[in-house]
Symmetry: C2
């Protein structure tokens, strides 16, 4: 990176090194060493950043570089902001009652403590497992259910076994009917048995059922025979190299420019996104995701994962491998995190950047001349993939030559499983193998869209397509329909309605398209999804407020990046997007107007994932796609100048006929 980083560049290892040295002396350290959890860029206030961005050519002093440091000092969770340039503490605060995101070292300690506990060992012994079994403990964060005081960390330990020496044997195929709770002091505080059938809310002790042992649940190639051999290689060749240009974290490609950000929590974020030098979005990121399980039986309501807030999409990002996770010419971005002792930790290849062909962008054949004009659609892809215990998620931004953006989530990996008696069925889960229940659950994502459509004063228009009155003189044949549009005036959560073709447009009312006579805008192509099923008074719902509506509109605040609040670990609710809106509505001094203001649009989407056996033992990607498309923003198709598709450039290969030659009667007349 250049000596002067861009205000939106993630912290460099050098800056992390500075930030790690500053807070230590500022606190007296009585009990043990400090434990670093986070050192990340505290993004500068939008006001300052916008001034910097808009100065562009001009030499302005950049906003000061602030590092956010999360650290346990004296076993208390601190947030310390460090001015990296001045090498001084900017602010420091003890986060009472809050917990940091998952700490893998801590979780490893939990596992060890659990397995060495004598009562746990006795319980396992009582299961009479096969001799070759290796017991695996899978620690999970505790989803608040109201049965415990949340001031200390509690970890749920779920038990599985492995029946093979192979370390990658699929232990999720053998869930055991035992569960334990481990305290922050690494003490096992509770051991119980899991329910085995629908009505069985407190299970009886049962002998381990040997008939549960089954042999078709492996996914690792070492453990699978008969892989298909019919798939022939398909390679992407780019003889002149990729069409993108990258300088540091700045990407330019096919009239697009943007800056790549990355942090421990959201993973990939995108900043200052422009097309043909026109401002579109200040920031795009996945704000939060929540995976509530629908199995009502105790203790399963404790399964509810905030995979960003609790686990971190950044810290769990995969090290992507050339030729495995993408094809063609690949640029990888690395990221920097921090070790528990405060050293910068390189996370290689957390984001890949490459191009894909997406079929036809546009085509027209003039039927009078027979002349066809066809262009192919090239996309720029920015991908990050995370592993959160059993599951993985691929997060992809696609940029199109027609100025469209698509955000795709692919859910894959292994289902989280629980035991079930052989022969039993329940209405809130699918039996995917004998004795293995994959409970119903939801994946709820919240995409945060911070627009800057030709500037920072934007509005949201909600448009519906509505039949004209009939019978009526203006609609004599009953075929007429019109659009009706309303600008959202105040902060609100809204829902989708495909039956009305309800469309959400982010517009700039100050900039009118001279041809259409309407404000320039971008339209949201939502992902139609069921919202959260948990009861509004449940902890699941209270903790994931964003799950209650599909589209939210709020005023911009530097403090509001995370739709379920900053600290989701064992949170109690009341900290998310609905609370922000409600609190401002109840505060006479607060502003709640969102028309022609600096606003943020949040889109909640996902899947109600009632597993099918085809998701087992490893799940083919389930895709969810959200789009953003210009709507009367440009003066024409912004991809109109994309090169015409030619065989000279594309070099396709004709596959010959192998069947016997046909008796052909050649065409007499020209055809299209």
């Amino acid at each position: 990176m250049s000596p002067v980083p861009h205000p939106l560049d993630p912290l460099s290892p050098h800056e992390i090194a500075i930030a790690s040295t500053v807070p230590k002396p500022s606190q007296s350290i009585a009990n043990g060493s400090p434990i670093f959890r986070v050192i990340t860029l505290n993004e500068p206030p939008k006001k300052e950043t916008v001034v910097y961005l808009e100065a562009r050519g001009e030499q302005l002093p950049p906003p000061r570089r602030i590092a956010k440091v999360h650290i346990y000092l004296n076993q208390q969770f601190h947030e310390i902001l460090v001015d990296v340039t001045a090498k001084s503490v900017f602010s420091a605060e003890i986060l009472h009652g809050k917990h940091s995101h998952v700490d893998s070292a801590y979780m490893k300690q939990v596992e060890t403590a659990c397995l060495s506990d004598a009562r746990v060992q006795a319980e396992i012994a009582s299961l009479q497992l096969p001799e070759e079994a290796t017991v695996i403990v899978e620690p999970w964060t505790y989803a608040t259910d109201g049965m415990n005081d949340m001031s200390a960390r509690i970890t749920m330990c779920w038990f599985y076994m492995r029946l093979s020496d192979h370390p990658d044997a699929n232990y999720y195929a053998y869930p055991l009917d035992v569960v334990a709770e481990v305290s922050e002091k690494f003490e096992v505080t509770n051991i119980s048995r899991l329910p085995s059938g629908e009505g069985d809310s407190i299970s009886k002790k049962e002998l381990f059922d040997r008939s549960k042992v089954h042999s078709s649940s492996e996914y690792h190639p070492d453990l699978q025979s008969d892989r298909r051999t019919t798939t022939r290689p398909l390679q992407v060749v780019q003889p002149e190299g990729p069409s993108f240009r990258i300088e540091g974290n700045f990407i330019s490609w096919e009239k697009w420019t943007m800056r790549v950000g990355f942090n421990y929590r959201e993973g990939l974020s995108l900043h200052d996104v422009r097309y043909d030098d026109r401002s579109l979005f200040y920031r795009l990121s996945l704000s939060e995701m929540f995976v509530p399980y629908g199995d009502p039986r105790c203790p399963y309501p404790r399964k509810g994962a905030f995979d960003l807030g609790n686990d971190g999409a950044g810290v769990n990002a995969n090290n992507l491998k050339l030729g495995c996770d993408c094809l063609g010419h690949i640029k990888y971005f690395d990221a920097w995190h921090v070790t528990s002792t405060g050293d910068a930790l390189k996370m290689p290849n957390v984001v890949c950047c490459h191009e894909v062909d997406d079929g036809i962008l546009y085509k027209h054949t003039n039927f009078r001349t027979g002349n066809a004009v066809v262009t192919r659609s090239r996309l720029l892809v920015l991908q990050t993939i995370i592993t959160v215990s059993n599951y993985e998620y691929c997060f992809l931004f696609y940029f199109g030559q027609d100025a469209s953006i698509h955000y795709e989530v692919r859910a894959t990996g292994i289902l989280s499983t629980v035991p079930i008696s052989v022969g039993e069925r329940v209405p809130f889960g699918t039996v995917v193998a004998p004795g293995v229940l994959a409970p119903y659950h939801q994946h709820l994502f919240c995409l945060r869209i911070d627009p800057a459509i030709e500037g920072h004063r934007n509005s949201v228009a909600v448009e519906e397509s509505i039949p004209m009155p009939f019978p009526h003189p203006t609609n004599p044949f009953g075929v007429g329909y019109v659009t009706k549009s309303a600008i959202i005036s105040h902060e609100i959560g809204l829902d989708l309605d495909h039956a009305k073709n309800r469309v959400f447009k982010i517009v700039n009312e100050n900039v009118i398209n001279p041809t259409t006579g309407t404000p320039v805008g971008f339209k949201l192509l939502p992902c139609y999804s069921q919202l959260i099923l948990a009861h509004p008074s449940s902890y699941h719902a209270k903790r994931s407020e964003f799950g209650a509506h599909a589209v939210w509109v709020t005023r911009y605040s530097d403090e509001e990046l995370f739709a379920s609040g900053v600290h989701t670990m064992q949170s109690l609710g009341g900290e998310g997007i609905a609370s922000w809106i409600k609190n401002r509505q109840e505060d006479e001094k607060a502003q709640t107007a969102v028309q022609n203001e600096d606003i943020v649009v949040w889109h909640t989407f996902g899947s109600t994932h009632n597993p099918r056996i085809e998701d087992w033992p490893v799940m083919p990607c389930e895709k969810m796609i959200v789009g953003l498309k210009p709507f009367n923003f440009f003066d024409r198709n912004p991809g109109l100048d994309v090169p015409i598709s030619t065989q000279e450039k594309n070099k396709s290969v004709l596959v010959g006929e192998k069947e016997p030659q046909v008796v052909t009667i050649e065409a007499e007349k020209p055809r299209l």
Copy 2:
């Protein structure tokens, strides 16, 4: 083709030749020559075909080959079925009151007649067009509006001008405010002016406004300067060739087998679709599409196009070009149609078959070992592209290694435009260039799914995800939810509801998945769309009954392939899917049960296309996607045996760093 064609093979040119010779002598020809419109396979009755398909290895006599011949004899529209093997007429019928699909020779005659009419010429002269203008007449079929007797063909003539000598100049950019009607005898029966603004239902004669002339509406490369040069080549290389094998119309690829069909009306159809030799679908095809325009002003309610029934997806299929319409190793299928004189007409390259890479199929990293297993998703694509005057549609079937099928429609081409006074705006259209209005319209597609899920007795289950009662002892924490499923008992039209996660499954209740304990099935992934906006009593709605519901379930009938009836040209309604159901409901002798029967599922989807200026002058593809996925059909992920993704096979290329080298502090600990 082999000497004995498969019963589902389209007619060979030899068979077309036979079929064309048989009907001629069977009718006395008094007035003029016969005009052939269609010679196509009359698919054998399903009962016979199923017996043939299920015999498989065994040698059974195939069902007899019947050609359906549509022909004008003595100016009457005939349907003659010819037994091609016996070379005899099987049945013959005059289709009184019906019209054949669009006849391009006829349309050309209409154009000529219109332009040579003295009153038309006078009307054009009164427009005072620029000297360099060439007037273009675009004939359209007449969408019934109740203002004319429909027994004879009426053609609407819309007027445009071209302002350049280039034959591919975009005349849709200069709509003229004149319209004419031409009769079946090629007489101009009416000339009128078009409305120029919202309230202007009968327009005044106005001088042509020279300010309408605008220069940014060309799409042809000859007429465009400054094409972007930044898009570098991207090629698909398959060093060992494609993974598919094709014999005649039979395709096998990655455990899939199917037969390709093609006819003048539906274009591509797929038959006897199996995965791993297990029966899934008897027939998949686009059944119909309708494009009703929403501009209420007379005469625009006459714009309503049945692009299959009136125009034909087969006869309008593009001759696909290597390297332009797809990348990689491409197999093309030709089709055979008929000339007006009864000769077989070759339609080359109407379907392309190739493979694409679709990113990650599945991935899992064992966080305990750091070992990742990743496979890439390869798809088989079958694509056909049609041109219907101004618009094009790409129709694509995608087959996945995970036994999923996706059907995609891409709408592209040029918007149909009408004139508007400069400065005017209307609430049912978008001004895309000065004086050019792109009226609102809908694209409504109906995908016909003829299932054969492990056999021909299938049912449709409608499942919803529903919160469990709360407070309630079985749901103490308020997080529980279950699925509730109901089997559809009788023929019906149903709607989508994403808020309830309403899922439509096609199941075989006679075959229970031994692990899940539920019937084997496939799930529909619908395309959420607004249904038809025209009033139920309008001709638009009465003629396109399928547009009233998103999912229809009917009993199988050999006669019911087309959701708006067999003859849509100037149809009056009462001939489509809702009428079939209603008629059977009212007929005491008719069967209406659809549980565990031979059924058909129809999915209506599309877009309410309120144009944006970015769709002009040629529209970037708008994608609509429908999916079919196995649901508890297999015993596990059917793509589990797909080869692991490796750089050795995929040969990706690393894009190097160009920025100055960073000060790196290397990772101390292993990371995923």
